[in-house]
Symmetry: C3
């Protein structure tokens, strides 16, 4: 696993993912959130038993609702890998520990992997297809948050 890409390409792709994580954890900038994706991006959360969101408007709606529900967010990145990259498109893989607290006071902690397709645009690498799924069994608290609002 892992493709031979230059250190610069590896870093540019990892940095695009860090942009996404920073926006998710800032929880106050929907435009910045949406700017991490291509306009036609698909966010497929069926691996978490949630929905699929296609295009900027649907993606903005999803993250807007998340930001209203949560009071704290922290998503830590590790084990970032470039699975494929031809300079115009790429597929990357990473581990994320997603942590947070809802306004209702429920703490969540999920250990997932991200499997993302990225596309080079005139504003740099953007996420065109987002998929995540649990790498470790999920705790009941995740369901509690989604039932609590």
């Amino acid at each position: 696993m892992g493709t031979v890409v230059s250190v610069e390409e590896h870093w540019a792709l990892e940095n695009a993912l860090l942009d996404y994580l920073f926006a998710v954890d800032a929880m106050d900038d929907i435009d910045g959130m949406v700017a991490c994706f291509t306009e036609d991006a698909v966010v497929d959360l069926t691996g978490l038993e949630l929905g699929t969101y296609e295009g900027s408007e649907a993606i903005a709606g999803f993250y807007g609702q998340v930001f209203e529900t949560m009071s704290h967010h922290m998503h830590t990145l590790s084990n970032f890998r470039v699975l494929a990259c031809d300079g115009k498109t790429a597929r990357v893989y990473a581990y994320i520990c997603g942590m947070g607290r809802s306004h209702a006071g429920v703490d969540i902690q999920v250990y997932v992997y991200y499997d993302l397709k990225m596309r080079m645009t005139d504003k740099g690498w953007k996420i065109s297809h987002f998929y995540e799924a649990p790498k470790l069994p999920m705790l009941d608290s995740v369901g509690q948050v989604h039932n609590s609002d």
Copy 2:
């Protein structure tokens, strides 16, 4: 968020932070600890409801006390970003999971961000201003450690 710097500059800055984390977790080398900072550095821990420490002597005193209190330390770094860098000074941001056990047997685990100013010296990048604050709510155990010695 995130500034365009070369991969080499990014790596040199991240490596300076790893030097700091290694010294904090080694818990046995105050000189190596102090060497991570400029002589006039400020360590501002008010975000953790602790004090502010200015200059090598005060910084040595603070870490000396921490090392006496704790039996184990592990600080994991993720999501490192260069917010600004002009080659002589830089501002960097990162997530840290700070974990440890005190000699009194209390385990602590804090999820924080670091917001650091660094300065290029004749011995490489050094921390000139250190600030950290919780990214997730802190557990009561942190107060227990500080009350236990």
Copy 3:
């Protein structure tokens, strides 16, 4: 701590360790697992109060048993450092949070450091000596897993 190596060398070594972690977490490819090591590699797990495994056959046997015991694996890497590197051999250090669940339903989580010797081969960097030990005190659950099968 930390040796001056090029960003490319640093990244190649880190990538070799990521290959190992990916194989450990995939839990389905003993050949890919063994391919992360030199043929004469030594896996010294005495720091975890486990055994020492020398050579491809013994290493395959060990990981085969682990993969049979566990239903989930996730090993997150951080604080990767190159301690020494002469282009042909290297010593690297890293933090790993090793998490998993056994088929018997026991969850484990260990906070360890890896201290590895690596060797450049015609197939890239491979692990020639593997050592890990706890960085934080281990929970009882680790013993439970090893007694549960």
